[in-house]
């Protein structure tokens, strides 16, 4: 199994199933850990990074992560392959753009990805479609236990798990839930949600995490406080209060739109379909914009020619690195726009002209 084998299909997290999957695209939990006896990566030499890489690689295989997973040596793959992993949310941008020995172990169904030598020595993450945080916590805690019995993690009685950045110290846990909120965007209420989230000390980011825009009306909501609160309390807060509340707002906004502006709503959805199905050159951002409207139409039952799983897949397949993999070589921005439009016509159109 290699990066090449990934691009033809989608990971479990984009399947469009699971609780609240009309609005919740995916749930993700990551844990940050560091090995005792090594400096953090900003002070680690090339040799030390190699040692950490080997030590964690060994721990992964003796903990049994070889059989249902595959390992990618990030340092020695092409830029496009790294970008494929970023687009699939298996590694972070920071990990892709880093230096020196680094790698990721990915389960075959892409529900877990264990990054070696990102900002911390080990960043474990699990992801699934819909709102499934309890299951994810159970899964990642077992992974943490299995690796923790092979290798000693830096831990302090008072401060908990020690991380390179003090903003992650304690549990080292970050919950991120990706939401699709097109109706709140259309009604202009999204700003209210963002403000409320900030008051609750939550971060709201775009599709690819830190420093990215909310293209395609996707918003990632995540916790920032990792100390003084237990993992279960953080998860409880998300799945018991924060996410159901935002989902309710979005549903209310969708209802208001169908009650009061149903023609305009259908117009948005069908225009989106018309453009996606017929355009000859599509930039990435406008594609995301129209796919977002189409997804809203499908999940509201106003457009029945496609299912959510297919739309989710299109969101992934129109990303630059996925397009280039499918074309078997590097493409310029303009060539990508043409390839993207061709792909969309092929997937959506009735006649492949």
């Amino acid at each position: 199994m290699s990066v090449d084998d990934l691009t033809g299909h989608v990971g479990e997290w984009l399947r469009g199933t699971g609780p609240m999957s009309d609005i919740v695209i995916s749930s993700r939990i990551r844990l940050a850990r560091n090995i005792v006896g090594y400096p953090f990566l900003s002070r680690a030499s090339g040799d030390e990074k190699r040692e950490i890489y080997r030590a964690l690689g060994d721990a992964l295989s003796s903990a049994g992560f070889g059989s249902n997973s595959f390992f990618v040596d990030i340092e020695n793959i092409s830029d496009v392959d790294r970008q494929v992993l970023v687009e699939r949310h298996l590694i972070s941008r920071q990990h892709a753009e880093g230096e020196g020995s680094r790698g990721v172990s990915v389960s075959l169904n892409e529900t877990h990805a264990l990054m070696i030598n990102e900002e911390d020595h080990l960043r474990m993450q699990v992801l699934k479609s819909g709102l499934q945080l309890e299951t994810l916590w159970n899964d990642i805690s077992i992974i943490d236990d299995r690796l923790g019995s092979e290798i000693e993690f830096a831990f302090d009685e008072r401060l908990g798990y020690l991380t390179a950045c003090p903003t992650n110290v304690g549990t080292g846990l970050r919950v991120s839930v990706m939401l699709h909120l097109p109706a709140l965007k259309i009604t202009g209420e999204i700003e209210k949600v963002m403000r409320a989230a900030k008051d609750l000390k939550l971060a709201v980011r775009g599709l690819f995490g830190e420093g990215t825009d909310a293209i395609g009306d996707f918003y990632q909501v995540s916790n920032q406080v990792t100390l003084g609160i237990s993992e279960e309390e953080i998860i409880d807060m998300f799945s018991g209060q924060i996410i159901p509340q935002i989902v309710d707002y979005e549903r209310a906004a969708r209802e208001a739109l169908s009650d009061q502006r149903s023609v305009q709503l259908d117009d948005k959805v069908w225009r989106a379909y018309g453009i996606l199905e017929n355009a000859r050159a599509m930039a990435s951002e406008e594609t995301m914009f129209f796919l977002s409207h189409l997804r809203m139409g499908v999940s509201m039952g106003r457009f029945n020619q496609l299912d959510i799983g297919t739309i989710n897949e299109l969101f992934l397949q129109i990303q630059p690195a996925h397009l280039q993999k499918r074309n078997g070589g590097k493409l310029s921005g303009e060539q990508r726009s043409i390839a993207r439009a061709n792909y969309l016509r092929q997937r959506l159109g009735h006649n492949n002209n």
Partner: protein, 178 residues
């Protein structure tokens, strides 16, 4: 021609502030010395300038000393950490202890003690914690509904679980040699 203080509208404004709003819009504010002090914008106006300078001169070496404090284990200085935002090694948390704590508290809603999972702690302890929390919620509901028989039963269950939880946490801590 001076600007009048926007607060009292009488004295000449000598304190001028430019706030950058969330949207990036600059907003100018003008106060006289007395109103600025009252608003908490400036220090007490009657503090003599030489005292202020003396305080500042004393502060600079303290800041310089803090910035130069270096971890013997990895060699990073506190100043370098501040510049890049990343620590050099796990020992920095001990070496920079008191300098670091205000930053940690600011990032974590004033908390500075870990309350989550520990190494070697099995998942059962986590599950126990989830059970305890759900019982606590049921108990609150029972009390709110004045269902006191239920509440008493829930309280007994909670006490049993809590003592089990404390025991398992203790067991883990001593195993770790902590």
């Amino acid at each position: 021609m001076g600007i009048l203080c926007q607060c009292c509208n009488q004295a000449n404004a000598t304190v001028h502030l430019t706030d950058i709003q969330a949207g990036g819009e600059p907003v100018e504010r003008h106060y006289c010395e007395a109103c600025a002090a009252q608003e908490g914008i400036t220090m007490k106006p009657h503090e003599p300038i030489n005292t202020m300078i003396e305080k500042f001169v004393k502060m600079v070496p303290a800041m310089r000393d803090a910035a130069q404090l270096t971890c013997p284990n990895c060699g990073i200085s506190f100043g370098e950490f501040r510049a890049q935002g990343l620590l050099g090694c796990p020992e920095d948390y001990t070496e920079f202890g008191e300098l670091l704590m205000p930053l940690i508290r600011r990032a974590h809603d004033d908390c500075d003690v870990h309350r989550g999972k520990r190494p070697g702690q099995t998942n059962d302890v986590g599950k126990l914690r989830v059970q305890i929390r759900s019982l606590e919620r049921q108990l609150e509901d029972a009390v709110a509904e004045e269902a006191f028989e239920d509440a008493a039963r829930l309280r007994d269950q909670l006490n049993t679980l809590r003592s089990g939880y404390d025991a398992s946490k203790h067991g883990d801590a001593s195993e770790d040699g902590a």
